[in-house]
């Protein structure tokens, strides 16, 4: 459904993505893991059409960006705008005449308050709600669980599974492996702008083990904690 071929991106002389290839099918959830700075956010921006890149993205949906909902790691908000007005903005931008946001306010946010008074987690939930209200076909969720309370994390995981059952394409990044293994069909490991591994559900436990070994290594010993 979406085929990304030879995606490369550089900022000046610094190469961030190197010839990435990715194939995304309907009704599947894809996880992208990698250390901070591995290129996950840049990849998401390229997929969304927010960044220019070398390579090609083919899709049955044209233009792809009109069917794609993007949840940034740190959602952007204007000052002096209420939660309701933010949801209205995201709806009108996709020609959706929705105004009954209270009914769909599953995270029970105070939509009549300025977004700037929200906590980090509340902002993330509002941004996710906005993306969901747009009736997108493709969801690119950059760390959707970050800063969100445990109850809402459970709800978000259920939302992802619901989107999968609705035959949508979902691509997420997260540093919480347990949630990825619960929701994803495939996990791609991104290292220094290159996919180094593509792992199916049955091998998630092996990937988890490998990542733990790699991440921890002998670093804790180096601290010489007493």
């Amino acid at each position: 459904m979406i085929k990304a071929e030879n995606i490369s991106k550089s900022y000046g002389s610094k190469s961030v993505l190197n010839n990435l290839n990715l194939r995304l099918e309907r009704g599947k959830v894809y996880g992208i893991v990698g250390e901070n700075g591995a290129g996950k956010t840049t990849l998401f921006k390229c997929l969304a059409g927010l960044e220019s890149f070398d390579g090609e993205i083919q899709s049955e949906l044209q233009p792809l960006k009109n069917y794609l909902g993007l949840l940034p790691t740190n959602p952007i908000f204007m000052s002096k705008i209420t939660g309701w007005e933010y949801l209205k903005l995201l709806s009108v931008s996709r020609n959706i005449k929705e105004e009954q946001f209270e009914e769909k306010n599953i995270f029970e946010l105070d939509l009549n308050q300025f977004v700037e008074t929200y906590s980090t987690g509340m902002k993330k939930k509002l941004a996710l709600l906005g993306v969901l209200l747009q009736n997108n076909e493709v969801f690119v969720l950059d760390e959707p669980f970050n800063g969100v309370d445990i109850h809402s994390n459970i709800i978000i995981a259920e939302i992802i599974l619901k989107l999968k059952s609705l035959n949508k394409v979902v691509i997420i990044s997260s540093h919480i492996f347990s949630i990825l293994s619960e929701t994803c069909d495939e996990i791609h490991v991104l290292e220094n702008g290159t996919f180094t591994e593509q792992v199916g559900k049955k091998d998630f436990h092996l990937l988890d083990e490998k990542m733990r070994k790699f991440a921890v290594g002998n670093r804790i010993e180096k601290l010489n904690l007493r």
Partner: protein, 305 residues
């Protein structure tokens, strides 16, 4: 503390450079604009002292926003914090005090000085403030945000209109209409984050059309009531008022297109020069608007197609 002020100077220089001009030239142009605007104000109304005092206080208040104050409190000890607030408020009030002294308006100059020192001790927590209702709720976002930020200026404009009618001073009433128009247009000076353009499923042509329609509705909602009231008390000037309103409307369209012709950067020197020339000779708007429109379409093509 010294490093903090050096950093502020660097930030201002970078901000001015962002407009595509040398910082020193930018400062000089700002100085000229300040003197020009002040002279124009004092030559047009008898209430210039009060307006000047109001503008000075509003400018000082900008430095006391909750975010800035919170950051300063985190960075500095109590004594240094208040010292910085007093120094900053004093620096920003110097041009206002200077101009008032030249005008022999000593009591107003003293008013600015006292306000600057007093306001350094008051912290405003704007983020928890109550939500000001706006008639633009359904058409986000420029007028929703702008209306709330400029509500005080609109109240001042209303007061000036009332005074203009009370004292049969047409110029003062017209100045009030001008405030409404200029403030409405100013909502479009700052570019939004690229996300809020990308998120639209329209192409650049439809996107710009939507932006202009929302802009026109907002502009007319804010200015027409003022024009109607002023026109009903000065019927002989009605054609002049409508003409001025229409020119403002053309400037609004020009500024919207100017914004997107520089997008995602801020409106910079070429756009400012074009708009400045149009202020001098408004018929040029009929050339400048299509030019900005074509540039906007080019700039938005990547994000919207």
């Amino acid at each position: 503390m010294e490093y903090y002020f050096k950093l502020q100077i660097k930030r201002i220089e970078r901000m001015i450079s962002g407009f595509g001009i040398h910082p020193w030239l930018g400062c000089f142009l700002l100085f000229l604009a300040f003197i020009g605007g002040s002279v124009a104000l004092f030559s047009s109304t008898a209430y210039a002292n009060w307006i000047f005092l109001g503008v000075a206080i509003l400018t000082i208040l900008k430095l006391g926003s909750s975010q800035r104050v919170e950051l300063l409190k985190i960075l500095f000890q109590r004594g240094d914090f208040y010292k910085i607030r007093r120094i900053e408020n004093s620096i920003i009030s110097i041009p206002f005090i200077g101009f008032l002294l030249i005008q022999n308006s000593y009591e107003y100059a003293a008013g600015v000085a006292v306000s600057a020192l007093l306001l350094a001790t008051i912290n405003f927590n704007q983020s928890v403030g109550f939500v000001i209702p706006t008639p633009f709720k359904r058409m986000p976002f420029e007028f929703v945000v702008g209306f709330r930020k400029a509500i005080l200026l609109f109240l001042i404009a209303g007061f000036l209109l009332f005074k203009g009618i009370e004292y049969a001073n047409f110029n003062l009433g017209l100045f009030a209409v001008g405030i409404m128009a200029l403030v409405s247009i100013s909502f479009y000076f700052k570019p939004e984050d690229a996300f809020f353009v990308w998120v639209y499923s329209s192409n650049s042509k439809v996107f710009l059309r939507k932006k202009v329609i929302i802009g026109l509705i907002g502009y007319l909602t804010l200015t027409v009531p003022f024009m109607v009231v002023l026109g009903s008390f000065f019927p002989s000037e009605l054609v002049f008022i409508i003409g001025l309103g229409l020119i403002g409307l053309l400037f609004l369209i020009a500024v919207i297109y100017a914004k997107y012709s520089a997008f995602p950067k801020e409106i910079n020197l070429p756009q400012v020069i074009f708009l400045g020339v149009c202020v001098w000779f408004p018929p040029l708007l009929f050339i400048v608007i299509p030019y900005f429109y074509i540039q906007s379409r080019k700039k938005l093509k990547f994000l919207l197609g």
